[in-house]
Symmetry: C2
Subunit: 253 residues, 2 copies
DNA sequence: GATATTTGTTGCAATATCGCACGAAACGGA
DNA sequence: TCCGTTTCGTGCGATATTGCAACAAATATC
């Protein structure tokens, strides 16, 4: 019953691959370039792009295609349908004000975390994070908290699905080392990451559970490593994070 | 040459319509519901949804479909390819700090504005705005600034493309009245909107031009109406907004 | 609890798409 | 400018998709 041949639409799947071919590294694509990235035939890629252009998702200057803000509608359809951002934002704002640091909530999508809400205070990371932004799960505090909530086999699958790049000199890049860390996180109930995502950034995260106790997201805060040692960060910020997580548990269905 | 029959992919266009059927009002859809919204045949809708599910864009519990965070990738493909957010964010942060108010940058997409960057200070609006959020152009300061940059006929087309709802008692809802306001904005170089989007919110916006002088976005700030009369807002905040807009002009290609 | 309505699924003929192959056009390097 | 290379656009047979119609299962209505 699953994946029946006649129930699939090849054209749709191909078109979505073409949309995803547009990244910050390749914001403008010719037909041949898009074909090379997606692995589709040039003729097919061309038809996809022309269709996307016809419906306003792409702009075409006769040579290059670029995606238009219209495609944002596709993505925000998701954020819009997700009650989580709207629910957590007030808590995030209050928490951020209380502790004087940026706070974020993210969910897990495969081996990546996706920011769904954020209350920014100061800029500590070089990258600008906003709802929809993605970071790999293996090296982020929120990612590890959510991976730790999965079965070992499932977490391992996600860790093995992509390259574990050493983003800094301290990044754990061995699956077994990260699996061991997940065990630690599971028993202590939070994740602490010391400059593994970015040099000079320390962060801690706690799981966010719904009323049934399932981990549905992660809540974190991060600050410049120069401001405090990890131990002090945990002592200072873990209690308020846990407190907000507990409150959220009662309001999340 | 444009819109040639054989160069279009019906399946892709239909699938995108199905994705857009998911909104905050209708976050969970059965096959028949999605078919009703999109106007597609039930069989076709089913094939679209199954394809989306197969590729991880939808989740299916046997009865209802929901979009997954995976579709955010489609939308953020756009934000990621857009250099604008990354470029303006530092300016926005500094401006926001300097004037002590929230600032935003948005672009125009048809008759709507789309937030692409934002530096939040205090919460004045009831709705949470973030990159990707949309508001109608006709009643927002940024929307009017960008409509004013278009040819009259084009601006009018956009104004007439959707209903001009009175969001507050002060919202302009007549096309001619808004067109007159656009003329005013064009000559004075900024837009001031007094509680037309939301009761108790005043905002002003200036155009953001690229090096060639084309209006590519709008920059605004807004604050609670109780804090200052419009005149004072203009006197206090217009100069710093203009200053940032001028600086941006030199860095935007 | 029986009937009417809606919904999910499938068969099938009409129709559209796929990807290969080919010619034309654009590009790049000497 | 010339030639080699790449890219674009298109014709076509093989193949996949479309939407109608029909039916069974699930809901809704009385």
């Amino acid at each position: 019953m699953a994946t029946k041949q006649g129930d699939m639409m090849g054209g749709l799947a191909k078109g979505l691959r073409v949309i995803e071919a547009f990244t910050s590294d390749t914001p403008r694509l010719s037909i041949a370039e898009a074909a090379a990235i997606t692995g589709l035939d040039r003729a097919t890629t061309r038809r996809c792009l022309l269709t996307l252009a016809e419906h306003g998702y792409c702009a075409y200057d006769g040579k290059f295609f670029t995606v238009t803000p219209r495609v944002l509608r596709l993505g925000t359809a998701c954020l819009a349908t997700m009650p989580l951002p709207r629910i957590v934002q007030p808590w995030l704002d209050r928490l951020s004000e209380e502790i004087g640091q940026s706070t974020s909530v993210a969910i897990l999508d495969g081996s990546e975390i996706v920011y769904v809400a954020r209350a920014a205070q100061r800029k500590v990371m070089s990258i600008a994070l906003m709802p929809g932004s993605r970071l790999p799960a293996y090296c982020t505090s929120m990612g590890r908290v959510m991976l730790a909530a999965l079965a070992d086999s499932e977490a391992r699958t996600h860790l093995e699905s992509g390259p574990l790049l050493p983003r800094t000199s301290q990044t754990l890049t061995q699956v077994d080392a990260i699996m061991a860390e997940l065990g630690e996180i599971r028993s202590q109930g939070f994740a602490a990451v010391d400059q593994e995502v970015e040099q000079g950034l320390r962060s801690i995260a706690v799981p966010v559970r719904n009323a049934r106790g399932m981990v549905v997201a992660a809540l974190n805060t991060g600050l410049a490593a120069s401001l405090a040692p990890m131990e002090e960060i945990i002592r200072t910020y873990l209690p308020p994070l846990r407190s907000v997580s507990l409150e959220l548990r009662t309001v999340l269905s």
